[in-house]
């Protein structure tokens, strides 16, 4: 279906090619997962399939990419639209119309299908993706998962033989991600569409894949069986980590496969109990964040309703919940980004009211790393950004730079912040905020677009900060990160706290938020591979 024949891509001014001599053939009707660290060339590989690279992006492509017999060198992306559909990571930026039904019909209209066909396929597609109840809705009123489904449906309706998706679930909560993947599964299995998918959150997708491509530094492996690929890959989901630890073969990819093998492991672990996350560090008695009846309204809608919450000094708390549950708004309210309609917020040892404190002094008490870290970055080099941060926060010169080196070494100070990888950009934004040495550190969705390596480093930095007395509160969909670092998990729904408790209890008892290791070893409540490894070492 898709053939790559000695394909290399090099962007202008790039020191090395983004893709290096790729030769492979993807057969029809396969779900191919592209796995690789950030910046390895995954996105470039995906965009060569419909010709956006090099027609739209610039750069030089040597070799030949053919899709369904069409050479991308001779056909522009718009002419390939009947054959290939490309779904971007952030669907909102790609919507061309205002309403769900119009968006689904749009591609077919530009292709000049006759109105009766369009009508029929719009209906079929809406049913297939479960969008019929939403057909007249405004696209902006939909949740993230619904938007992603509309984006896929809109491309699918036009009848392409190939769908290419770049991190379709990284911004979604676990349940919404499951919905999207179920839709994909259905079109691959029932309709024979070829799907090429890149995703960092392997725990969500790897068991859906028929084949896996490993990408590293522009080099692409041949098509691999998922189990073999996971043995070779540098990045792998926790269930594979567990399998590597215990030495299961062949490697199980789904929870179900792993559970079947896990009986002996459960026996071996037997009576030993995991070291409690809270035991890792000393959590003080002082309350560092106190929310009292906090309510936040946006327009006529109450987003946060009467939330009472106290967080101990030096702890790590994760806020979880569906897209649109009010996590970001709650963080914004704590950092005085949103006005309170009612209630009060008190932060830090001095019980500061952030809403009554001028911005200049507020940064000493509370720092927030927003969902898009680039919003915090203004300068045109990393070095200038750090210098500006020192000036902004009145810190000693070099503070921010030292922090950055500690969080993520090896960033060239001459780079433009927008050219950094997602992980490096997050590190820079975190270093900027930490220059103010805030007592309370808030992070909104920090793991979006981060590969496992970057995520692990972030986890270490955050636990290190908590050990030093900083109170960390983060909103995330990433259950594996929560399992690694959280002392406490608070689940929000519709602007209210529905569950609040120690991480182990909350995560293990929630069907949506349980991490993979927990699901494999239930009823025992292990959260991470490291915990299991520690316990096995103690037994042995």
């Amino acid at each position: 279906m898709i053939t790559f024949d000695h394909v290399s891509v090099r962007y202008a001014d790039a020191p090395s090619p983004s893709l290096h001599d790729v030769t492979l053939e993807i057969p029809e009707g396969e779900l191919v997962l592209v796995v690789g660290p950030t910046g390895s060339g995954k996105s470039t590989l995906l965009r060569t399939v419909n010709g956006l690279v090099p027609h739209f992006s610039g750069g030089t492509l040597t070799g030949r990419v053919t899709v369904d017999g069409l050479d991308t060198a001779e056909h522009r992306p718009r002419d390939l639209a009947t054959v290939v559909g490309l779904v971007e990571q952030n669907p909102t930026s790609t919507f061309v119309t205002d309403v769900v039904e119009d968006e689904v019909a749009y591609g077919m209209e530009t292709m000049g299908l006759d109105p009766t066909t369009i009508r029929r396929r719009v209906e079929e597609t809406l049913d297939l993706f479960g969008l019929t109840p939403l057909r007249g809705q405004s696209l902006r009123a939909l949740s993230g998962g619904q938007q992603q489904r509309v984006a896929i449906a809109a491309l699918f309706a036009a009848g392409p033989r190939v769908l290419v998706l770049d991190e379709p679930t990284s911004a979604l909560d676990p349940v919404a991600a499951e919905e999207v993947l179920a839709s994909l599964h259905r079109i691959v299995h029932d309709l024979g569409v070829t799907v090429v998918l890149a995703e960092h959150r392997l725990e969500r997708v790897v068991h859906h894949a028929d084949r896996v491509l490993l990408v590293d530094d522009g080099h692409v492996s041949e098509l691999l069986e998922p189990a073999d690929a996971m043995l070779r890959s540098q990045i792998y989901p926790p269930v594979v980590g567990l399998s590597r630890l215990v030495g299961w073969s062949p490697t199980p990819l789904s929870i179900r496969d792993a559970r079947r093998r896990a009986a002996s492991l459960r026996d071996a672990l037997g009576a030993s109990t995991p070291m409690a996350a809270a035991g890792r560090r000393l959590v003080g008695r002082e309350q560092s964040v106190v929310l009292d009846g906090v309510r936040v309204s946006r327009g006529h809608r109450t987003v946060i309703d009467a939330i009472d919450l106290t967080v101990s000094r030096g702890s790590v708390t994760t806020l979880m919940g569906r897209n649109g549950a009010g996590k970001s708004t709650l963080l914004g309210a704590i950092a005085a980004q949103h006005r309170l309609a009612a209630g009060r917020v008190r932060l830090g040892a001095a019980a500061t009211d952030p809403h009554a404190t001028p911005a200049r002094e507020r940064v000493r008490t509370v720092g927030l790393v927003p969902q898009q870290p680039e919003l915090l970055l203004y300068a045109d080099t990393v070095a200038a950004e750090c210098a500006a941060a020192d000036a902004d926060f009145g810190a000693a010169s070099g503070t921010c730079r030292a922090l950055l080196d500690r969080i993520s070494g090896g960033i060239d100070p001459g780079t433009h912040p927008r050219d950094l990888s997602e992980g490096q950009r997050l590190a820079l934004a975190l270093a900027v905020i930490l220059s103010g040495s805030p007592e309370v550190l808030l992070l909104d969705e920090p793991t979006r677009g981060l590969d496992y390596g970057a995520k692990k480093r972030l986890g270490e930095v955050l636990t290190g900060l908590a050990a030093g007395g900083t109170t960390v509160v983060l909103a995330t969909h990433d259950v594996e990160l929560a399992a690694e670092i959280a002392d406490r998990v608070v689940i929000l729904a519709d602007g209210e706290v529905v569950t609040d408790g120690p991480a182990r209890e909350v995560l293990a008892s929630s069907p949506a938020f349980a991490p993979q290791v927990t699901k494999v070893l239930l009823p025992q409540t292990w959260l991470t591979v490291a915990e299991v490894a520690g316990a096995l070492a103690r037994i042995a």
Binding site: E88, D114, I118, G136, R140, A141
Partner: protein, 359 residues
Amino acid sequence: MAQQRARLQHPAAWWLWGLGLATAASRTTNPVVLLLVVGVCVVVVSERHDPATPNPLPAFLVIGGAVLAFRLVMTAVLGNGIVGDTVVVTLPRVPLPEWAANVRLGGAVTLEALLYAAYDALRLAAILACLGAANALASPRRLLRYLPSTLYDVGTAVVVGLTFAPQLLSDARDVRAARTLRGRDGRGLRETARLTVPVLETAFERSLGLAASMESRGYGRAVRTSTSSRRAATGLALAGLVGVLAGLYGLLDASAGGLLGLPVLVLGAVLAGSSLLVGASRDTRSGHRRDRWAWTETVTAAAGAVPATVLVVASVQGWDGVVPSQRAELPALPLLAVVAVLVATIPAWVTPRPREALS
């Protein structure tokens, strides 16, 4: 939850209505008539705004208000050449050197000058309100579906531009909010300058994303002829449009001479029409549930044409009160013009109700 699809009024009808009302507003400086035009826009939008799209009318009204305030302040400080006797207040005059003798800074502020400025600015505000109303009643993206494929490049630019402007505002808000996280309040000239770059960068990146998405979804593939013939057709269409605009301007602006306007308008219309015909014959795009043109559309377009016709005639014949004097008195009210503007509210009740916002 089965829901009947509500019939939406054809977007072109609303835009014709809006342009008609704007034409009417452009021909008068009578504050009562102009305020009435703004009122009509507000009434119709509050009755028939499509809840599935954002409502840009308030933003347009704010811009109109800002224009008015700016004109008044500038007139007070610099004067506008209108001589009057009724002095409202006398500002301290700044002496200027000989070579700037024609420029006045400070001095007596007369009511006549202020009224002239206010009426003139009000006219602009009313026109802006008409555009805002058309925007709110039928999203330009819907209108764009009817744009002939000859104007492919223009179409892409318009869609990207339409997303760019509102996004720019929300990005600016986000970046300013993020600025407070670095201990700055985001106010003042230097701060604004620092914020410009990230705001523009974010908005540009987003626009590029949208353009890439339109490209990969086949926008513009309908025109599969050679680039040169497409460019020729686009050039022809643009020349035609410019001709139409110049002709309309000539017709509408009495000082440019109405007689010159007509031939240019006809020539432009012929050019534009022929280019669209050529393009349409190659247009393989098809429509999904195109909006129909029914009697309500005709009524809407007519309701916009009535005030336009009446006020153009009124201004050409120089009816009393259409261009009021700047004396400190209530301007005469041309009754027929008032009635004509009120006709434009009819669509607020006869047109189909747009889809209800789902809860």
